[in-house]
Amino acid sequence: MTITLGFYDSAIDFGLMTEEATPLDAEAKRIQFEEQAMPLAPYLYSAALKNTRGNYYDAEDLVQETFIKAFKAWHQFEQGTELKSWLSTILRNTYINKFNKKKKDKAVGGLDDLEDWQLGSAESMSAVKELSAEVESLKALSSKEVNAAMRALSPEFRSVVFMAIVEQLSYAEIAEQLEVPIGTVMSRLHRGKAKLRKLLAEFAKSEGYNVEGEES
């Protein structure tokens, strides 16, 4: 039976583990890292967003930390192998260590249990022309503003909105992953989107896209 030593083996062979890096080596490695790894930042960011269920702040942290770790361990990366999966592994491990403290998704007392489409919906009574104006103003908003609105949601709502709309998971899948009842998922999605809608209408209004029918 043979034991594969993997990169340690070859790293020692090539003297990477024993030789001290000279300043020039370090500079060359930094350039190499920037050229090879940095273009993968968008890919890693979307992976991080999935891991953190749409938590932009955590996703940014996660990507940054991944790249710092990768940079520090750059001498361990074997040129010619798949850099994307090397980075993805670091990302996954970083995520597990940093965020996945197996914390249960804590329900905010009572709030979730209300199924508010059953409580009557004053907002649904808005006139058709208001809605059409709203659709128009929505189109005029930039991704940056939508992003800002998403960031403004509380994490419980944002997770569900992200999982349902961006990842396109079913209610059942979301309920399973978050370990909450399906009714809670539905309620959070509904409330999250209602909140988003309100925020986006505010953005649109402040940008001067007047939503018809609203009195100022």
Partner: protein, 85 residues
């Protein structure tokens, strides 16, 4: 299952499943019939679809440049000579 046309409340409640194509055929038919006869719900559905697309777009467009800049800044402050011993 009894076939019935959903009312506005029920229709509104199913918008997500409708957009995600998670409905049974009976439900789908019931909703389609309702939407065909109700301008308000039709607009609601259009709006929801537009909102979903907007959210999707905003999340797939990454603020990659900003993040990359922050990373580069941090990387450039790291001295590899301190690490690879």
């Amino acid at each position: 299952m009894t076939e019935k046309v959903m009312n506005c409340e029920e229709t509104k409640r199913h918008v997500h499943e409708y957009l995600q194509k998670e409905l049974s055929e009976a439900e789908l038919e019931s909703i389609t019939t309702h939407i065909a006869n109700c301008d308000h719900c039709e607009w609601e559905y259009d709006f929801e679809a537009a909102l979903n697309r907007t959210i999707q777009m905003s999340c797939t467009e990454t603020p990659a440049e900003e993040i990359a800049e922050k990373i580069l800044e941090r990387i450039r402050s790291i001295d590899l000579n301190d690490i690879q011993h």
